[in-house]
Symmetry: C2
Subunit: 470 residues, 2 copies
């Protein structure tokens, strides 16, 4: 493709001096994300300014070359894996925090700023940026916005999109627009911020983000409740959420997931239990947190917990959260690959979905560790597999489809926080129906008439449902 | 127009039996909203089901008849006033609460359900629907969603759009779609909920809404701080917001606004003060609220308040909030008309905007009471006027434009919660710039290719800026 586009490399090198990679050894790393997909791009361009991003778009538009925008490539839906001969437009070099304003309570960042770096910087100033995807030490804000990433604290604080006050976006043809501003309330025109947020780079490249910040809560605590039956854990969650206590997080970790964590880096999880819940609470009043933890403990006991362990200091809390965030790498040690799902279901249906996922695992003789943000119904059944084993992958495909069908039947949705990307696109019509999907298609065609932005993502390929394509 | 559309009335009567109004005396009430605009529609249709709404859209599409969707017509931007010969499609008869689910914490309502009615019903069940536009006793959820309405409690709890989990929307051609679901997290496809929310009926008619509910806070209190200088009030707000206390509301009421309230229904406001702030706090711990009020009082005193009055019981709190909600009708008693603005500015610029609005009032010899949700920078300068006085209205136009220009210059936006409608459409390019507006236009053209949905709204008419058209 690149060979058949004479002058392309030269044009890009002129537009982005020192930022064009063409050597195969350099390109390989840009063909992966956090899924098992891999497609090495023909070329990678790494601009440092919005003007350079715009120039890349203009060159791509003039030559009808598709572009896959990429931040840190830690996504879990294949959104950043380049298809259809796409060049990769990486924003990793655009990694500056441009502004943190304590009075206006906003941060302005380039798309390549790492989430954890931003969190650390705002917390130094007594401020707080809540969205905390498990990838927070690797993932960048631009990718978080493109996928509308979540995280554990989203139960209390909302997802990435709830913090996006303004975006600078490069449209497919290279036009640079701004949408939104520095105010929390803004109803001037259509909500384009929310349209580009979560659009997974299919409508343009996000280059700069203005984020809402909160005041940092003065205290945070964590507790673990141990259950012999995962059903009881699900009912305990419902009881806590109905009690008026709003934890910052409620995380489920089932037995198989605990075993993976302990194999990877032991922290003494109760491997004889069916599941644990990890609760976080935060706020400005230590006495209130103690009272909330007491309520949580009481409700957990009423719903069959055999033990509640309250973390007594910040270090103990941090160990619990580190264990939670280490799940993804821990699973990768048990089997070569995983198909990580991200279904979100209404509270009423959580226990039933858990039962069905376990039945699907048994039926297809697969290991499916189950964990996730159970407080808001956003669970991550991960189907462990080896992608070189065709027979196993056929079972994985059937199981993945069965999980999606159960989710939609129970009133849930395909993705709570990872996005659709490549992994779930064939199920979009199952979830949305043809007419809603047609509205999305009209918007895509109106804003990207040449179809050069991240082709092959979000929208299903013709030919109906299938689990995924390797 | 209707006369030139033979068979239209008959077709609509067949589609919506008993729901078509054509008598002039019946039509007049559908030509107003909360602004000074008035355009009597040629015809009003009041469907009771989504199938009837769809049938009306199909008839309108077939005959290229424009439609203006309308809920209760209490809006403050002219969004529901029918232009270009539009028929009015009113959803007032679709006023059923279909479901309130305590476990899933959602309400499903038809578009015509009155906000206060929903609030009362959910609160009976210990639940809470926070968005509280001042019109809450008159306005319907469908209109709240169409304009993405705010309210005082949005400081802590967010705006209407933050509670919209799912929408049923009738597209211009009559296709009925659903977007979103019953889960709080949902990133399956483009965020169409947020696109239709705040689109002011220009992309389709919203017929059913699934709303997120919270647990009702157990306690709420209010306090009033009295300031001799409005500047000090603005600085006190900044100090409170930086302190870590997040009030449910911080409302500004300036001297002229207080005088209007007292003329209308006296409650003993301090008419010798330059401005007051009304603070609300809520939560589950009475002791915390007392402590937060003490912090607010301390900071208010540090910033020059001469008096803080804490409401000692629910009745006293309710009187304060009733006074706040009565401002709009109180202004209407002082002068025949008002041009109510809804600018939203970053916290840093609040004091400066207040100064500029007062300077603009003095320069143009106009009364501009100033009040609003100062905690999130969403202020409502209301230019009092008599629309039959052409000379005065010319000054009003110049002053309105000056306020918008000052707002944009200070980093703010035209509308925080009322929408653009008719009132602010000529200023859209000033705020958004031509390229962002062009993106909106592409979306509009893609989803409403015949241009039949609420014509003449949101997008500017050709010919550049002017303040407004009567």
């Amino acid at each position: 493709m690149i060979d058949s586009a004479p002058g392309l490399v030269e044009a890009l090198r002129a537009a982005v001096p020192g930022g064009v990679l063409t050597e195969p050894v350099d390109l390989i790393a840009y063909g992966f994300d956090g899924t098992f997909y891999e497609r090495t791009p023909p070329l990678v361009v790494l601009p440092e300014t919005v003007e350079q991003v715009s120039a890349v778009h203009r060159i791509a538009t003039a030559r009808r070359i598709p572009i896959t925008p990429r931040a840190m490539g830690s996504g879990l839906s294949g959104g950043a894996v380049p298809l259809a001969g796409s060049i990769v437009l990486g924003v990793a070099r655009m990694d500056r925090i441009l502004e943190i304003d304590e009075i206006d309570r906003v941060a302005v960042v380039q798309a390549g700023v790492i989430n954890a770096h931003l969190q650390a910087e705002v917390e130094k100033r007594g401020l707080f940026y809540p969205p905390d995807p498990s990838s927070l030490k690797q993932s960048a804000i631009g990718g978080n916005v493109a996928e509308n990433a979540g995280g554990a604290r989203c139960l209390k604080y909302g997802v990435t999109g709830d913090y996006v006050l303004a975006l600078q976006v490069v449209l497919p043809d290279g036009t640079v627009i701004r949408t939104g501003g520095r105010t929390v309330k803004n109803v001037t025109g259509y909500d384009l911020r929310r349209l580009f947020t979560g659009a997974e780079g299919t409508l343009g490249t996000i280059t700069e983000i203005t984020l809402k910040l909160l005041a940092k809560p003065k205290h945070a605590r964590a507790a673990m409740a141990v259950f012999d039956r995962i059903d009881d854990a699900a009912h305990a969650v419902t009881a806590v959420m109905a009690s008026g206590v709003l934890p910052s997080a409620i995380e489920l970790v089932d037995n198989l997931t605990m075993r993976c964590i302990e194999e990877n880096s032991p922290i003494g999880l109760p491997l004889d239990a069916d599941a644990i819940l990890i609760f976080g609470v935060d706020g400005n009043y230590a006495g209130v947190l103690a009272d909330e933890l007491a309520t949580i403990e009481r409700l957990a006991r009423e719903h069959g917990t055999r033990e509640v362990r309250v973390a007594h200091d910040a270090a103990e809390s941090e160990r619990l959260w580190t264990a939670r965030r280490s799940i993804s790498p821990a699973l990768a040690r048990r089997r070569p690959n995983k198909l990580g799902e991200d279904v979100c279901i209404p509270p009423r249906a959580i226990a039933e979905l858990v039962r069905r996922v376990r039945a699907i695992a048994a039926e297809h003789a697969l290991e499916i560790p189950l964990f996730g943000h159970i407080g808001d119904g956003n669970l991550h059944p991960n189907i462990l597999c080896d992608k070189t084993n065709a027979e196993e992958m056929a079972r994985v495909a059937v199981a993945a489809r069965a999980i999606f069908e159960a989710t939609v039947e129970l009133g849930g949705t395909l993705s709570g926080e990872h996005g659709i990307g490549l992994l779930k696109k064939q199920f979009m019509e199952l979830d949305l129906g043809p007419d809603t999907l047609a509205v999305m298609r009209k918007i895509k065609d109106a804003l990207d008439p040449l179809g050069i932005m991240n082709p092959g993502k979000v929208f299903p390929d013709p030919g109906g449902m299938e689990a995924f394509r390797l």
